[in-house]
Amino acid sequence: MEFAELIKTPRADNVVLHRPFHPAVEGTLCLTGHHLIFSSRRQDNAEELWLLHSNIDSIEKRFVGSLGTIIIKCKDLRIIQLDIPGMEECLNIASSIEALSTLDSVTLMYPFFYRPMFEVLEDGWSSFLLEQEFELLSSVTNEWRLSCVNKEFSVCPSYPPVVIVPKCVDDEALRKVALFRHGGRFPVLSYYHKKNGMVMMRSSQPLTGTNGRRCKEDEKLINATLRSGRRGFVIDTRPLNVAQQARAKGGGFEQEVHYPQWRRIHKYIERFNILQESFIKLVEACNDQSHNMDRWLSKLEASNWLTHIKELLTAACLAAQCIDREGASVLVHGSEGTDSTLQVTSLAQIILDPRCRTIRGFEALVVREWLQAGHPFQQRCAQSAYSNSKQKWEAPVFLLFLECVWQIHRQFPCSFEFNEQFLIMLFEHAYASQFGTFLGNNENERAKLKLPQKTMSLWSWVNRPEELSRFQNPLYEANSLVIWPSVAPQSLQLWEGVFLRWNRPSKFLEEAEEERINIIKYNKELQAKVNALRRQLAELETDEQ
């Protein structure tokens, strides 16, 4: 297919662009296969707006006489308005945008066409390999092994080719356990707590069904993570009744009789479709320009978004507490083990592991606990909050995770190496990107699409020193301790950086950030100068003696 076929009017002049908090600008609109480009010709202030078609969530068109107006709502929640003279041009452009922003073939997406303009210093596709992770683990314990049982993605299609499992469980047993777990997602190591040797595992629900099926290998596998005489906790992200109902469909939960050493805790986290509704409601509230305070608060409350944030943080704190305070190992799962499970395991690591609060460590966490762990990004992020079409698999599961990280960040502003912009950048790229990192639903699909060969990794770009400097938190001071966030409603706030990003004047907040950076930078410069002078003086003084 040629993109040109979809572009009937590639260019329109005298188009006026409207954005909140910016004066309207007149300029030229161009459509290419992957971008909508608007450029103003004003000499004093030449401005260009490049918008990926894949970032467009929905468009609306209106006509007043022959002046057409297109309202573009983006997946990053921005809304822009274009006034296009000429009814035909406007219709053509609208239909082109519509077609180009809803291409169904992955291989037509921009990452397959994008050629980087920067030199690749480090290939992001091989920056975070599980083998490296395992090497680190081996230096502190020898109770675990790398298994290649899923080499061909035959045991579990949504798992990566290699996984970390207890040493005493062989591949044969893993195959049997896979048959006992939803989607073949047998329990694997998610996190090893060096401080006390406790671990966090994740899986999907056990397929006990109504007649209470059991699987000796499964029991052996998860018991292998327990120290003798100690108990562990299974954190089930469904309420008990949902877990019970799941048995009718062949699913289920670990029953006490067969797992006597495990205590089960049900900690409910909403399923993905509910989250999507909540997301849509919240964004609607945030775009309501009404001056009415009651209306705003009631819409905010009705969206339930902050409730989900609180539930999720609470579950993650619980998992972290079991490991760090109770000194117990933990197994986390919901139904499929690809959404709420990953939210809990990754957030618990933010709380427990200082490494995950560094830029590289956080990237590794996203790769390990989201990409390799088979969170279906392509399905979940196909549409954002403005989608008109009936939702199928869309859900802001990853966004909720990022927001929870932000909430913790807000409470511990000096303990993270990255800043808020880093989290927002990940949100944007999960929904629309020139990089291949978030394409596909699991490693299996990514391998089939040959993404590492055909597309650029987001990490190749982010980890360049020029880019990194934008994402560094000037206040960062390594904090080697467990950080316990407060989950009280008074402690949680709306993430303005994402939800009010386009609806608030950002100037003052940016200036504040700049000022923070300057204060720290100036201090460091002075420190360096003083140290240099001291050395120089010391040298001169010794010379003299």
Partner: protein, 651 residues
Amino acid sequence: VENVKLLDRLSSRRAVVGTLYLTATHVIFVENGAETRKETWVLHSQISSIEKQATTATGCPLLIRCKNFQVIQLVIPQERDCHDVYISLIRLARPVKYEELYCFSFNPKLDKEEREQGWKLVDLNEEYNRMGVPNNYWQISDVNRDYGVCDSYPTEVYVPKSATAHIIVGSSKFRSRRRFPALSYYCKGNNASICRSSQPLSGFSARCLEDEQMLQAIRKANPGSDFIYVVDTRPKLNAMANRAAGKGYENEDNYSNIKFQFIGIENIHVMRNSLQKMLEVCELKSPSMSDFLWGLENSGWLKHIKAIMDAGIFIAKAVAEEGVSVLVHCSDGWDRTAQVCSVASLLLDPYYRTVKGFMVLIEKDWVSFGHKFNHRYGNLDGDPKEISPVIDQFIECIWQLMEQFPCAFEFNERFLIHIQHHIYSCQFGNFLCNSQKERRELKIKERTYSLWAHLWKNRADYLNPLYRSDHSQTQGTLHPQIAPCNFLYKFWSGMYNRFEKGLHPRQSVTDYLMAVKEETQQLEEELEVLQERLANLQKSQSGDNKVKSKQQDRSKQTGLYTSNNSLANTPQEYSNDLKSFPSRSPSQGDEEDSALILTQDNLKSSDPDLSANSDPESGVEDLSCRSPSGGGCLPSEDSGKDSDEAVFLAG
């Protein structure tokens, strides 16, 4: 009373046993803990209510709610003791004479001269001169010399030059409580002004020529504009109801060239109930997000804050953008009018966003114009229906603005919280009584100390590290957004859950940056010394031991500074040690601070001696209390654990 239990609201497991003392001025609770002996001091004047609850097996619970939003739950073993404490506190918390208040016994060990200097720190004459009056249009009037015209006004008021004494007196007779229109803020740039008054006694049809002339005079004082706005800050319905009582609002037909405008800010009773409802939400034990948001909405608190802010924005816009003068009133012109005039002034004039300017602003719009501090904040036992969080709302408006304009204010959140605290504490004389007249009669300036001097002395603790006087945000008028989705009004947990440290961010960016800035300053000084030293050395090639030793001092301090940051985190490690217990209210140091029920870190940093750190020892002290998570981390870890303990139980 011994063996009293102090309960922690967030966790029933975290109760401490200690001894309760009642003194003439304070309630003091001393923990029994062997090492720490943590002390909790509460001023009687801070107590807003005491509730004796049903006796349980463990003893008799007593709930003390404070005006600074601290809630203390005690369990006293003997019913009889509890009753005695209850009766005593009820009496002590409700003094009937001004002389019983703490400020008359409080002695910060300053001599007479220092006290007088303190009272001179904020000088309203100087302030009006700064604004640019008197000038061709405005003059000081002495009609109220002996409070003869209006006993709740100051003796010196600014009025339009064309307003004769006859007009003023005539107008005052047509205004509630004789509070005639007077100048609140004058905008040098365009001659527009903000004036304030009470409602006119217009009833259904009454007119007053002098009052009409007075408004005319205000308009004429701004030659650039052919009308003035008259802003009635009440809801229209309330204003109309007032007409039946012979009061009301200006009829546009009777006054030439006015534009009349209602801005619906509710009255003190609505505000009192609203705060009550919001505090109930704050006190909920582990509320869900919906409980909390619903409760917050239902309380209407943020709606009221927004209404005040919107009024301020309207006036600031009229003055700055349209160049039109505004006359503001409500009913008596001492509550909503004070709120709105001061918010508008602060939006208009960067000076009021500085430490000194903010003191001046409160002195001008609140203290001098007869805001009834005694009645509103219940300093003396009085009518509970007079109590209302009027100035609290103003202070919150400023906090909301600080959140939107992080670089625009010279002061930080702590400054606002401490001012709020002292409005209720009665430790300083500034906010005593209901008017200037009463304060003069009581000889406040001779018998008590000024809060402003105290805050000014410790101003280093109240600075916003992001403020720069040359910053674009600092200049000119602030233009806040109006819609809630553009201007996010937030619940101010730093104020209303002030003593629940566990709910606050565990690391303070402000404190961290302040520590960095302080270090930067030291580095600058050292750099200068080193450069000078180097120049000398290069010139003479000879050494000097003095600098060398200074250099060593310095390196010690730097080292300690960095290690301190990690030290600050240690309490986050799990520990049953009592030391890391959440301090509902930490021990009090010296006399001077004894009334300040603040957290340890705040307390330390308000210690005046901390800025001097010539020897490495004090440098350590200093930095440890200012490092990013300083003392604030102590309680936080535990509360953090608390929250997941709750989680755990829920699971």
